[in-house]
Symmetry: C2
Subunit: 234 residues, 2 copies
């Protein structure tokens, strides 16, 4: 399969970078084709703006999603967006590899979502959730976080981690139709020993060897709602 790893960390020696390198090596050794978008190394521009569009349907008033659709049709999206969209469309599995900042992804990666998940291709109209434009692809987060496991469960100080990640897991990945695998979470990374980090990397390797046996997360389907998106009786 084709794998795309979208990676965001400013320190090449970081644990997150080691996770990315391990995934590249492991997945290639399994026979997969792996591409990496190393956002810091690429100097990725995360800011959605008028500069993303070579032509304009509405020159006087910028509606970003409208111009995404128009520029995709006219093949006039900015080259950096087009390159990433091509990688995304080639991929069977997309891994988002990042340190959790404010219970979300670093801004440089949020801007990858904002600019690359182009309306008219990845979503739009009634193409969302199981009808989304990226249906058939799988996605997984591979993340590090400062907190300990007991802080990130129901009743813990921050509640269930997947609830914090909901706008990504459900609102973005499932929304665009992707099959969402459970996140791989490396806890407490800034505070643990080298040996503990090595052990976490080994756990990540095992995860990458067992992707096909992982039950994906479950989300809504559009056939549970009527044409106006009111819920139908169960």
């Amino acid at each position: 399969m084709n794998v795309l790893i979208v990676h965001a960390h400013h320190e090449p020696q970081s644990f997150n970078a080691a996770m990315k390198d391990l995934a590249v090596a492991e997945l290639r050794s399994q026979g997969h084709a792996v591409e990496v978008s190393d956002l810091y190394a690429m100097h990725w521009n995360p800011v959605a703006s008028a500069a993303d569009f070579g032509v304009r349907q509405q020159p006087d008033y910028l509606v970003y999603a409208l111009e995404q659709r128009h520029n995709q049709q006219q093949q006039a999206l900015a080259a950096d967006i087009r390159d990433e969209l091509d990688k995304l469309l080639r991929a069977d599995l997309v891994i988002f590899n990042f340190p959790v900042y404010w219970f979300s992804m670093p801004a440089i990666m949020k801007g990858w979502l904002d600019r690359v998940l182009v309306s008219g291709v990845c979503y739009g109209g009634k193409r969302f959730y199981d009808q989304g434009g990226l249906a058939g692809k799988r996605a997984m987060l591979a993340i590090s976080i400062g907190g300990r496991p007991h802080m990130l469960v129901e009743g813990g100080v921050h509640g269930e981690l997947n609830d914090m990640l909901r706008p990504i897991l459900r609102g973005t990945l499932a929304y665009t139709g992707m099959t969402v695998l459970p996140p791989f979470v490396a806890h407490h990374v800034p505070y643990i020993t080298h040996e503990a980090r090595v052990e976490l990397l080994e756990q990540y390797r095992q995860r990458l060897r067992t992707l096909d046996s992982l039950p994906p997360l479950q989300f809504v389907r559009l056939d549970q709602f009527d044409a106006q998106l009111h819920p139908l009786p169960a």
Copy 2:
């Protein structure tokens, strides 16, 4: 009181810009001092990187939060971060004004959180939730979103909007100690008439006139947890 409005929209004629302008005028007419950080107009850099630090505690390995603390102590944070942090520390109320992208804020604003919510000032150690560094300040989201209200409630196609906003409301604003007011939400904005937009702006004006009577959202308190952040018996 001092109000800071952090605004992120690339179109000066947008509904979001109108919300921002209305809030400036309304809050000033109430006698408050209002500052605006118009992130697109400022060409705000949202990418957390080594360039944010004038000095380094660890020159060979970038740990962002560590260098935030060190550079804050050494008064060596990048000038754009220092300016925004000063605005934030002056503010009694912070309004985050943005269009919802992927059930979150645009990357340019996420990068304001990443860079300006400096460790050692806004949070750090046991200074979070009710013990957070920004305790005593209030925060409110003022947002536009494409969906209709019935799509953003429990049982709706996307579930409760505040659950999607959890990493911001709880994981960021409440985490840093701020008192979080319910978001003001302008639904379905891209698809409604001019008259309906005017009506929404009037609702926003009323909201800004009744902030003191709004019950804030409720979150955990650290006295509900032991020293290792395990929950205490209720």
